[in-house]
């Protein structure tokens, strides 16, 4: 009797200690000194819309990671600061991150001007910089050591668009209408380079000055040229003007290709654009989306009343990419982190696309081309995947095409 009693007490003690330890570990999320990453984004200023969407996506991931134990058993902390879409402000933030907060790495920004300013600091001061959303090729120009860009570069978008049209209709005639902004110039430099190699014929090439309001005349020119496809890309609201006026003149939606499309753009193109095609890196209509991708879409949609697109997606994936790199580095050290990034070879959580950086920090590139199937006001839309392509960043002389 006494022995049994003793045994059961010891057993229950053991069990309860064990249970307590387990529960204790689970209940205490991540504990210890947080791993800090400086994140500068556009919460105010002209890019406020993209910056706030990005910050929203980021927050989901950070919360998820920390509730499951953090990184290396430490909480992952993103210090988010507003840069007002101003490069000088961003530089001040980054300096602050580096020197005062002593962050492990920096990240952030959806604006290319700002990203280039941060890039300069990162390279000069040897701070790993993971850029979620910025498409300028110069961010990974040859010689780059500390900067890693997740989004494919804009020149590559043009390249992939030419390849897409080539397989959709070999020998097609194409009309181009776009704004004279740095992003568009990069995209179309890539497109025109590859179009020649893909035996596509550019019949009209129209560039609009910044501040243009009306494209009716140019739309008439394009209609007269009778192209198979019309590629349009306007800066800001001009994109919707181009789209509407081209459709007004009788060009069919199926002839229209947009180099890139985020959710709000699709809403703005509206249901009259059903049949139009756009490029993207993440979309709810992509075939074979992994469960994590579908979960992210559902979560974002219910919180923000619209589906996420690639901006939110990249910002959501950023903490996970950091997690993977830090864990592979084994410790929160800048040089080891840099090495881990350069050796990285994983799949993006939400889409399954490859994450692998070349010697300059440019990721292996890819693009989806989707066709709009239906648009429900400003709430939701459906689209169908038409094409997917992967390529290496330097498949075309990207750093020569755009300074």
């Amino acid at each position: 009797m006494k022995n049994l009693f003793k045994k059961s007490i010891i057993q229950s003690l053991l069990i309860s200690t064990f249970a307590f330890t387990c529960l204790g570990t689970n209940a205490q999320n991540a504990v210890g000194e947080p791993i800090k990453i400086g994140f500068s984004t556009e919460l105010t200023g002209p890019w406020t819309f993209f910056g706030t969407s990005c910050a929203a996506g980021l927050k989901f991931a950070v919360d998820e990671i920390n509730s499951k134990g953090g990184v290396l058993k430490r909480p992952l902390e993103f210090i988010v600061q507003d840069n007002q879409t101003n490069p000088t402000q961003a530089l001040a933030s980054v300096r602050n991150f580096d020197v005062n907060d002593k962050v492990l790495a920096i990240s952030g920004t959806t604006n290319s001007d700002v990203s280039l300013a941060m890039y300069g600091y990162a390279e000069q001061n040897k701070v790993p910089f993971l850029v979620p959303v910025a498409a300028f090729p110069q961010l990974t120009k040859p010689g780059t050591k500390y900067t890693f860009r997740i989004e494919p570069d804009a020149v590559g978008w043009g390249y992939s668009m030419a390849k897409f049209i080539e397989q959709r209709k070999p020998g097609a005639t194409v009309a181009l209408m776009y704004s004279d902004a740095a992003l568009m110039r990069a995209i179309f430099a890539g497109f025109k380079y590859q179009a020649e190699k893909s035996k596509l014929k550019v019949v009209t090439d129209i560039i609009f000055p910044q501040g243009s309001s009306d494209a009716t005349v140019q739309a008439a020119q394009v209609k007269a040229a009778n192209p198979d496809f019309v590629i349009i890309s306007g800066a800001g609201a001009f994109d919707a003007v181009l789209n509407n006026q081209i459709l007004d003149l009788g060009i069919k939606p199926e002839q229209i290709v947009h180099p890139f499309g985020i959710t709000t753009q699709v809403f703005n193109w509206g249901s009259r654009s059903v049949g139009s095609i756009y490029g993207t890196f993440f979309d709810q209509g992509i075939d074979n989306l992994p469960k994590e991708g579908r979960d992210f879409i559902a979560k974002y949609d219910s919180a923000n009343n619209r589906p996420p697109s690639y901006v939110e997606n990249y910002c959501y994936n950023t903490p996970y990419i950091f997690k993977s790199a830090i864990e592979s580095a084994g410790t929160a050290d800048r040089e080891k982190l840099r090495e881990a990034f350069s050796k990285m070879n994983i799949k993006e959580l939400t889409s399954g696309t490859p994450i692998h950086f070349d010697a300059n920090g440019a990721r292996k590139e890819y693009m989806y081309f989707m066709q709009i199937a239906s648009v429900e006001g400003k709430r939701n839309y459906k689209s169908k995947q038409l094409y997917y392509i992967e390529w290496n960043p330097e498949v075309i002389p990207v750093y020569d095409l755009v300074k």
């Binding site: 402000q89 300096r95 000069q124």
Partner: protein, 309 residues
């Protein structure tokens, strides 16, 4: 020419601050930017406060100097210290050339012209990427070399402090010189001044040239201190900002622009949480100053002191 003890105190404080901020690089950065703005404000004051013309193309001239500096350094492989005077003279020359026709116009028309010139130059910065790298801007600008070592850390702030003090000193000299008297006479009543033998246009050109020098030198140091420039670094909002320092602090005084810059320049960096309101606050300040305190803080203070006597 008596130099009041308050001025010496001010200069001493300005020169000492970088040493206090030696270990805090963030505060050091803010200090550096403030010194640049003090320098710029002193310069703009010469045209706005002394002569009475509001040059909205100030930032564009800084931009020309900055881009020219980088171009000369890259193409001719000379050091910053050699390129500095060349770029400065170049920018000042271009500035005067552009501003020359409008210097004979009256106040408002001059301001409007300078606004247009500023906008045109900002567009020029964007549309001539061969010299300026366009929208993308130029990053990773290295700091100047001193005895073959790049200037780093708080040493750069000390240099900027010296620059600011020199700028203040120079504007002080002008204020108390015959040239300065002529400037003020023109501001008060240009017709009268002309009738008294003061060549209004020539003097305005001289003032404009001096102010352009300030803008240009500031632009060169700005580029190497921040390490990044783009057309947006030198747009009309930058000109307006500097104008605000002068107007807020008190135009036509020596200390006014300094006070204005010291108070306002660090704000956007220190009040990060009030980011969104920056535009609104500066707009409100501009309106309040124009309506209620045309003499600025220091000007109003001086008037109050005088009225007590």
């Amino acid at each position: 020419m008596k130099i009041k003890s308050q001025y010496w105190l001010l200069i001493l404080v300005l020169l000492l601050l970088p040493f206090l901020a030696k270990d805090n690089r963030f505060l050091g950065f803010i200090l550096g930017i403030t010194y640049l703005n003090v320098f710029w404000a002193s310069g703009m004051n010469i045209l706005y406060g002394f002569v009475g013309l509001m040059p909205l193309m100030f930032a564009a001239i800084s931009g020309i100097a900055a881009y020219a500096l980088l171009y000369f350094i890259a193409e001719w492989h000379i050091s910053f210290w050699f390129a500095l005077p060349i770029a400065t003279l170049f920018a000042a020359f271009v500035g005067v050339l552009l501003g020359l026709p409008s210097l004979r116009l009256k106040g408002f028309y001059f301001t409007l012209c300078s606004l247009i010139i500023q906008s045109t130059l900002t567009l020029a910065f964007i549309f001539f990427p061969k010299f300026t790298n366009g929208d993308t801007g130029i990053n990773q600008i290295s700091p100047p070399l001193w005895m073959n070592e790049p200037i780093k850390g708080y040493v750069f702030e000390v240099i900027l402090a010296i620059l600011a003090v020199l700028g203040i000193g120079f504007s002080f000299l002008i204020y108390h010189s015959k040239l300065g008297q002529r400037f003020i006479a023109i501001k008060e009543d240009d017709v009268l001044a002309e009738s008294l033998g003061v060549n209004v246009v020539i003097n305005r050109v001289i003032a404009f040239f001096i102010v352009s020098i300030y803008a240009a030198i500031g632009g060169c140091f700005y580029a190497t201190y921040i390490g990044f420039i783009s057309p947006r670094s030198f747009d009309v909002l930058s000109s307006l900002n500097i104008w605000l320092f002068v107007a807020f602090g008190g135009k036509a005084t020596i200390a006014g622009p300094v006070i204005g810059a010291l108070l306002l320049a660090p704000l956007p960096f220190l009040l990060q949480s009030l980011e969104a309101y920056k535009d609104i606050l500066s707009g409100i300040l501009i309106i309040l100053i124009t309506l209620l305190m045309p003499g600025g803080i220091y000007g109003t203070y001086l008037a109050w002191v005088n009225s007590k006597k």
